[in-house]
Symmetry: D4
Subunit: 208 residues, 8 copies
């Protein structure tokens, strides 16, 4: 009776980054800014590392919402980038949906700002069309914890799986032996405690 | 197997504001008073902006519970206003249910004080009669977070969708192009961070 | 597909108070002691007010767990009181189950210490035997919030309804007109903010 | 041996509002935005109500810091407004100091963004020049609570008095009989709980 | 160089309870209402237990601030009760100061609502006149923790000693042998954990 | 329609301890280190006390993740210990699954570091293969509360039961009379409040 | 003008452990019980490690306060142990003061339960008699954080130095070279993170 | 009577970075790791930007404490680096003190791990020798907030000024016109919200 285990598969997954714009980010207050910035860039780096097709989209970026944060543009220079002219739910934008379909993937890894709108709306729409949706909770931000909790509840009830960028990376990678260096670098760059473990280990190893 | 995406439709939605009374508001301690006041008025303003039929109701307003907060009366001078003589669950009041039915809407956007009683009881009753219920979590207040969490759990298990006033506004509006000015004004009046974005943007734009 | 609204009915409900013992109470740290004491006594008072059959039980009260708190014994001098000789799950005790069955009620309002054991175990057992279980979350305490959250999750997944003593009182009473004085007295004795509303109201009314 | 009681005197006090700019406000995360906006406007309203000489200043408002929030300009259309060309400590700006001196007041009521810089620096400088400084803690914001605590510690050690806008208003007013209506209006506009008390009181009074 | 130890002396201490009024109490949000009510009544009970001269005062109790909470009137039927006609700082009221002086005590134990005004102002004034002031922090409430912290800082800098009702009781009593029963009763009535200790102890003792 | 009560049975349960390694533990920040260490050791002690087959596994223990904490090795010197060469999900390791199957048990009590990966992945896999999974939430740690909440949500949605080490012990033991001394010792060693109850009780009992 | 640096000297320091009794410990709620137990035992272990004269005292241990926790008695079998017959402030007990004087030390390292009474009172008394007092804040517990903050403020204002057991150990030891093994063992036994560092380091070192 | 304003002067200040080692950093739990890493690197970057003489020191870096984090070595390749052989208080190491004296500066900007030892001890020693000490609170970390608060209290009482890296940067820079680009780059690299302001501003400016 419970939900079956749908596991992320790097050959069947795409990443959707929705509205991480310079203006909108000032609305995010359920994460500390340093941590949130790190989480978003970690998700971007893992998308690149696993060579997952990635789609960028923004809402009204000519106005107060501001431009996409430059780091994302730089990480994905060739990714489809849909600057939506007005649709709040990215899934209401035909170009966006077409880009998603063009990836040919059935698993959507989704993050954005703000959680209860820019993430929840396309998540619910994609599930309704048969996609498996994995929300990257820690790369999605919103006004406060109360708002976040309500949004998580709504998405989970609809069948979305709530994950984190670290969980996504681990479920995609499956086995360290596929590439120890690469995964360690990803963690070292985005998890200070892990970096410290590696520093201490490497230094001690080298000192023998 | 998961719950299908039921999306708010401005042509099929009504707003129910339950027991936002001057006395009862002193019981609300799961939100800061400044924030809660803003959330309630934001919900009222969006109801008016989207021209949603809105119903006001109070419990025992002659007694210690106190009168409906004046701002709500002023925003909806012509709305049905049911001063319940004793029913705790608004849905037990025939006039209230009649007013809901008279709207002809099937989607109910619901907020009130206190969450586990004045919101949860009519939410559960309305769901039982086939309505789609959207609880505006941040315009509903109660004694403390423990109480709120239990109430959310009970309503969500029954099929209510937990939202926020901002999510409601966005899902109703769907596309900025329907009215940029209007939605921006709503946000500017009730989201200080958004107002600041607009101020900075407008000033800079004007300075060219 | 969602859970139907099962509403508390004062003619069909019994109250089970499990292991509110002087020693065990020192384990409760997810509520402030002043607040928790008040919540437990409020639940006891409402059980008495609504004349609900009430069952008291303790675990090993001769040992370190200590005796039942005296206020509960005093409030229910004639209630069945099952001092369990060893069963941790009260539902494993035949006398306790017999007492529950003897009430002839199908709705069980349940609270105790500690939540994940003394409340969760009988809640799950009672549901398995077809009872409708309403957990009074704020009159049930445990070691910390993490533990509580896990216990709530387990009980809610099994079909228990999470409530508070205030919600229980309101759902049982249904209409203020059934007895304004009595319900107001219950609230005045256990909700300081409500008492203040009544004090201010009454004083001003009298001053006219 | 302890610090003597220096009491605010409405005939000897001026208000300094430092760098409440649209861009800088997005840095403030030790207060909820709704609450912080209200606190700043409450301070502005009280300055106006008590007719205290008020000085506005901004840092680099042509750049990313953004313009002064419009409400402040509107409240004080004729106040000295010093747009500092570069000085971070407002007290390093001769025009600002001249404006302060021109008020002829010895008590400075100070608030700004961010606390440890735009408030603390001029507070320390003013104390060093013999002024009595009253920091309005809840109309001053910064990155987080850790930063705020350090800033408060530094200012208090130097002799600043830490207050709130409400405390300032009360200490300036001294006696309700000086103007009941005016002070009540100030509180009603900026303290929702107080507004509710007044609403309930007035309604009941009128109903007699 | 540090502040010398000024110890409470039951023969030289008076208690001042300032503005614990039914309306104003709804403003208090830095304590849970159950806990705050208990703290205030505990302070009242200890004042009575130690037979300390006690003075009650209120601000504008005919208006929205509401009447003194009835329990305090009942506990001190013969205490001086100064209903101030307008002075915000109780020390600005001649009758209040006269009542304080009439006690002949030099140590003032002070609590009230709200902390940064009704407590801080008379505390600072009393210190300025040479009194030793002991603020009962947990029987004094205000809007939020930020406000409280600022008020504590201001009072401590001026030389007030910050205490709690429990600390006050212990420092006044000095030796359990002065009256074991009485002090135990005070603690049992206002500290649930202590009551539980006594219940468990007494029961086990009796069972021998 | 709700999930039936699956109760832990000491004759049908095995314990899986996943990746409690010296390096990885520095990543755990959703529990205080003192508390987390105690919880993990309590789980180990209960596994031993109930003679549950227990399986230890580590990930990459030659590298920065570090060795299994020595206490676990010492508690279970003869337990299967699978040092995984690279599989992140322990269930992807054939030896681990074989060890689980070799126990012949259908109920798996699972804890590990970090929750959303080392616990969630094998939990989901085991459920998919028909095992009943009980997650020991307080002996499983991760980066922060946000991450934990998302992981709990994912596992609970899949049918895992969220428990604590204390709940597990109580559900396995069922009746104090099975062994009062043994269970009391387990609690005394890992619950300071319980130890204090026992100390006070025993001392008083002995003093008669 | 600031307080000069008084540094702990192991040849001039004594440790006073006040009222760590099995009953009173149930009152401590400003620390998690696992953490607090660890902190108290760490302080005891360091006192023994540095061979500091240590004095134990209890209040009314025949009654509900309960006996001294057994671990402290076991750690200091030959220490002066003053079971006070009634004095709340240990310094009011002549035997206790005599025991302190008999140590011949001028620096007193002090911890106890509860902070604002059993710690603060003797701290203030000892300072008044010219001792240098170092309060071990994390081995002293009380009802809640508000109470603790007030007690810290009072003691710090009087000249006490607020420290932690770890800071005390480090200031006494001064140089690792005095005994690397011993200090590392103390830290390994009471700081799980440090133990993990040592485990990882030692294992890797040994693997070469 | 209050402490005079001692202002940081870039010509008279040196930076001391104490024990930011890979192992010790795992002990820091009063800051989120992402934030703390950012704060430490921000302080390093500002030291370099203002060309302040900087001194690095470590404690026992061959052992479990681990090596200095590589970023600090890289930022200051030519800085004095004192690997202390055993002294816990860096000021007890003659080479360290000599290096400090060699800078010829009287203002010491100090940060390290852990706060109550590696920061507090040299801070107190330096003050005792007449230096002006500025503690960078947010680049100094320790076990928990309780420990931090005690350490701050001790240092502030001794005359240290508590600051943050941002406050230090602003007080050193004094006037944006000294170098707009440089300071903006420092802020953009270490304050995500500020970076967003600059991104939005620059993009809009460029779009004209």
């Amino acid at each position: 009776m419970s939900k079956p285990y749908t596991r992320l598969d790097k050959n069947n997954a795409a990443v959707l980054l929705v509205d991480h714009q310079a203006g909108l980010l000032s609305l995010v207050r359920d994460f500390d800014p340093d941590k949130f910035k790190n989480n978003v860039l970690a998700l971007a780096d893992l998308a690149k590392y696993f060579k997952l097709p990635t789609i960028l989209t923004t809402s009204f970026e000519e106005g107060p919402n501001g431009p996409l944060v430059p780091e994302l543009k730089q990480t994905f220079p060739d990714a489809p980038f849909i600057a939506r002219p007005g649709q709040i739910n990215a899934w209401d934008n035909e170009d966006f949906v077409a880009a998603v379909k063009a990836t040919g993937k059935k698993q959507l890894i989704l993050a954005g700002v703000v959680t209860e709108v820019c993430v929840a709306f396309p998540a619910l729409s994609a599930i309704a069309e048969g996609y498996e949706v994995f929300v990257v909770t820690d790369a999605s931000g919103t006004f406060n914890e109360v708002t976040r909790d309500a949004a998580w509840n709504r998405m989970a009830a609809a069948g979305a799986q709530l994950m984190t960028w670290f969980g996504v990376a681990c479920e995609l990678h499956r086995d360290w032996r596929n590439d120890v260096e690469g995964l360690a670098a990803l963690f070292s760059n985005h998890i200070p405690d892990y970096r410290n473990l590696i520093t201490a280990y490497t230094t001690l190893k080298a000192s023998k």
